[in-house]
Symmetry: C2
Subunit: 205 residues, 2 copies
DNA sequence: TGAGAATACGAGCAACAACTCGTATTCGCA
DNA sequence: TGCGAATACGAGTTGTTGCTCGTATTCTCA
């Protein structure tokens, strides 16, 4: 069989820039329309180029989404790093812990509204779920690690399940936070934290 | 302008049955493929009829979805009735209250896996969100009513927000419950209840 | 029982989306 | 400065989808 990334074709700086512009445009259109409804022509138009030019850089619509997913994944990894960076995280006060984990993740989602549009929607090719897999696992792993310290009485499977629930809560409420008007956002974040706290408190200590 | 439901055309019993069969098929296909990806021909095939016959009963793909939404709405109304029926709901023990509200709603969603596929997906025509609107408002209203009794100290706007959060939690976790294997489902429901309880407890009393 | 309405069919139409291709322009570099 | 590669174009090809239409069959009821 052939390699997937057979010959990544030599590119000029101009081309790299174009690719980035196309991904910017794609993020915006995907965010607004969803994956299925966005046309490659619409992405090209938003990027200010012709349909043919888009295919100079990406083999297919899915390839565009894939590249965008990769880019988001990298940024998300940074956001996770920041969120889980403090070494003494697990030893902190519960409210403080939640603040320090949630705030950077919320900030990332607010800054990248296209992210959820790509990953949280059920209407995309399975390949993209695959792309989101590693980052999702990493997030779960980090939460589990914290639970291992904060809730030592949980069995391994309970811990896994609880981590999943926590991540699920976060992901369910994030769209509302992102969509909220500037002046409402803080209140929404407070609710999100209340929910996490309410679930975590009984497990804690 | 013409009326939307101009002449609802006289139907034979056979026709009524066909319509119902088409909706059954549509529910199955929508549930599996999502709204955008399901083709009207696929619905017709699943119903064992020709594409033309489908259009004898429904003017468009959206009309099929609309009719299906109406049918779900009616069933959902019943489920809500059951969930919120006991007159002394608001006066019960918190765990008991949660059980009595959550269990029937979960049962409904498990019995109708197509429901979420239609309403919880972001890829459908705005008309359907409209169809879901009344039932959603009713649910929010019921939850608010309970909060009025259980958490009298909340301001009106806080109450509204809290109700929204509760409904949101439920809707976010329901897909996991529905998708879970039979033997895992109870555990998932327990987690759902834990989350609700954790959020409600501080508001209570 | 027979006429008209309802139901059923399925090939095919119009619209649209992903993608191609021949050609023209711009860039990197010797 | 000039040549090959990269970039850019956009009309057109191919395939699919929602939906139509002419026609055939079945049902209802006087």
């Amino acid at each position: 069989m052939e390699s997937e990334e057979a010959r990544p074709r030599r590119r000029q700086a101009r081309g790299e820039r174009r690719m980035s512009e196309i991904l910017d445009a794609a993020a915006a259109v995907f965010a607004e329309q969803g994956y299925e409804k966005t046309t490659t022509n619409a992405i090209a138009a938003a990027a200010g180029i012709s349909p043919g030019s888009l295919y100079q850089f990406f083999r297919s619509k899915e390839a565009v989404a894939q590249a965008l997913a990769d880019r988001f994944t990298a940024q998300m990894r940074d956001a996770h790093g920041e969120a889980f960076a403090p070494a003494d995280l697990a030893a902190r006060d519960l409210d403080d812990l939640i603040d320090r984990v949630v705030d950077p993740l919320v900030a990332f989602n607010v800054a990248n509204p296209g992210f959820k549009a790509l990953f949280a929607r059920p209407d995309m090719p399975p390949g993209l779920a695959t792309a989101a897999g590693p980052i999702q696992s990493a997030l779960l792993g980090r939460v589990e690690a914290i639970l291992t310290v904060r809730a030592p009485r949980l069995s391994s499977s309970e811990r896994t399940r609880s981590a999943r629930v926590l991540v699920q809560i976060f992901q369910a409420m994030t769209p509302v936070v992102v969509a909220a008007a500037e002046e409402e956002r803080e209140a929404e974040v407070r609710e999100l934290k209340k929910v996490l706290r309410g679930y975590l408190a009984p497990l804690d200590g």
